[in-house]
């Protein structure tokens, strides 16, 4: 059985697809797609082979693009992807995830922060209003990237449960399919607030929220102010930043099978450039749920490196051993086919990479 591995890349100037059909040894590049719109997130459905790309264009506004032929042709829609008249219009789609109940059902997180759902494979969209009806909404503040809903995490066994993360509002959880929400930020800090206010109920600058496989209540997050793990669905968070070179970074990527393994790419800090520490690139891996960390550098550049990696720009694949991938602000793409032990640069000179996802297809 032939395995095709696709890397779905969102960039500042369009979506790109890398494909390998020889076990991740060589990669072919296709793109740019989506009329070179800024594309914040690209996901694929391995069952149907459908690819969706969410973004927003300064001229034309937000849209979700769809390809049913692995990128050969694309269409776009934003029908229903709008707030009520008079509200601040949606600028861009930031995150996509499969939604429960129905083939091709999707969630989309947008800027300014809100949640939408499509039940027809992205052709039309409807607002999930409960999130923006949360009483905290008047206090949500935009982070450096805007007021964005960037992380969507579904419970693997319970269709009613969903977590989202918003910069800068924090993590929220719904137990009723999005009708009502509660903040899930206890234990995560806001170093940008006065000392006595650093652990608020909401208002945290979550950078990336991911779920651990096989443990539905285990979540990890990279925050503007630290790295954290929760073992109770986000009700309580525990710092896991000891042993890391900084408390700042953007992406987090879970292992496809091991809930104790997580990949981070810490940056030097929010006030000193937000690039890799000491001019040397490393992915940091824990095998024990954040108790200890190992820096992975084999094959990564170690001198005069001044790139960053954005919040959605690191991913794993589902193969054995797992592949790990990240794209840089400077348009390079790095890949590991051995769980991070060794790395290769598989592309350079791309536009700024905004997101990386993987799609594995069995022919």
């Amino acid at each position: 059985m032939a395995t095709r591995i696709l890397l779905l890349i969102g960039t500042k100037k369009g979506a790109f697809i890398f494909e390998s059909s020889d076990g991740r040894r060589t990669w072919d590049l296709r793109g740019p797609f989506c009329e070179t719109w800024p594309i914040n997130h690209v996901i694929g459905d391995p069952a149907a082979g459908t690819i969706w790309a969410g973004g927003g264009n300064e001229w034309f506004g937000p849209a979700v693009w769809r390809s049913d032929d692995l990128g050969a042709t694309w269409s776009h829609s934003s029908q229903g992807l709008a707030y009520a008249a008079g509200e601040e219009p949606i600028r861009a789609v930031w995150s996509l995830a499969p939604a429960p109940r129905g083939d091709g059902a999707l969630y989309a997180g947008v800027e300014p922060a809100g949640l939408f759902r499509s039940d027809d494979r992205g052709a039309t969209w409807s607002h999930v209003p409960g999130l923006r009806e949360h009483p905290s909404r008047a206090h949500w503040q935009p982070g450096g990237g805007g007021l964005i809903l960037h992380s969507l995490v579904r419970h693997p066994d319970d269709d009613r449960q969903l977590w989202v993360a918003i910069s800068t509002a924090g993590a929220f959880h719904s137990a009723d399919g999005g009708a009502t929400w509660e903040p899930r930020n206890h234990g995560t800090r806001c170093d940008f607030l006065p000392e006595e206010q650093r652990y608020p109920e909401f208002g945290q600058c979550v950078h990336c929220l991911v779920a651990a496989p096989g443990m539905p209540d285990r979540l990890y997050q990279q925050n503007h102010c630290g790295m954290y793990r929760s073992d109770d669905g986000g009700r309580h968070w525990q710092s896991i930043e000891d042993g890391l070179p900084s408390s700042f970074g953007f992406p987090a990527a879970a292992h496809p099978r091991d809930p104790n393994t997580l990949y981070l790419l810490p940056l030097n800090g929010d006030a000193v450039g937000r690039t890799v520490p000491d001019g040397a690139c490393a992915v940091w891996r824990t095998r024990d749920a954040g108790a200890s960390w190992q820096d992975l550098r084999d094959g990564l550049p170690q001198r005069n490196v001044f790139f960053g990696v954005l919040r959605q720009a690191m991913a794993t694949d589902v193969l054995e051993p797992a592949g790990v991938y990240f794209g840089t602000g400077s348009g390079e793409l790095y890949a590991s086919a051995d769980e991070g032990e060794s790395w290769r640069r598989i592309a350079e000179h791309l536009p700024t990479v905004l997101s990386v996802e993987t799609l594995v297809l069995e022919d």
Partner: protein, 93 residues
């Protein structure tokens, strides 16, 4: 020509045409206002309104619509023979 109102000509930018396969640069339609003209475009190529207008509703910040050489808003009236030019503004990086 279908619809009601004055007969007008709408000129679309190529970058917008590329988003709607089968659309044409020069569109003849009947419309009493810029909003009517954009509704006419949307009827021909569903979704085109969302690319020109936001949900406030207003013409998008980085789009411009000119009626007979004057920059116009959605409620600008059209007259028989008006030319409506849709343009992308200077934007991006």
């Amino acid at each position: 020509m279908v619809g009601s109102g004055p007969a007008v000509t709408v000129i679309l930018p190529g970058v917008l045409q590329r988003l709607f396969p089968g659309s044409v640069r020069r569109v003849e339609l009947r419309a009493a206002s810029v909003a009517d003209a954009i509704a006419g475009l949307d009827a021909r190529w569903p979704g085109m309104r969302d690319r020109i207008c936001d949900s406030r509703p207003a013409i998008r910040r980085h789009m411009n619509v000119f009626v007979d050489g004057e920059r116009a808003a959605l409620d600008a009236p059209l007259r028989e023979g008006s030319t409506v030019v849709v343009l992308t503004a200077v934007s991006g990086g």
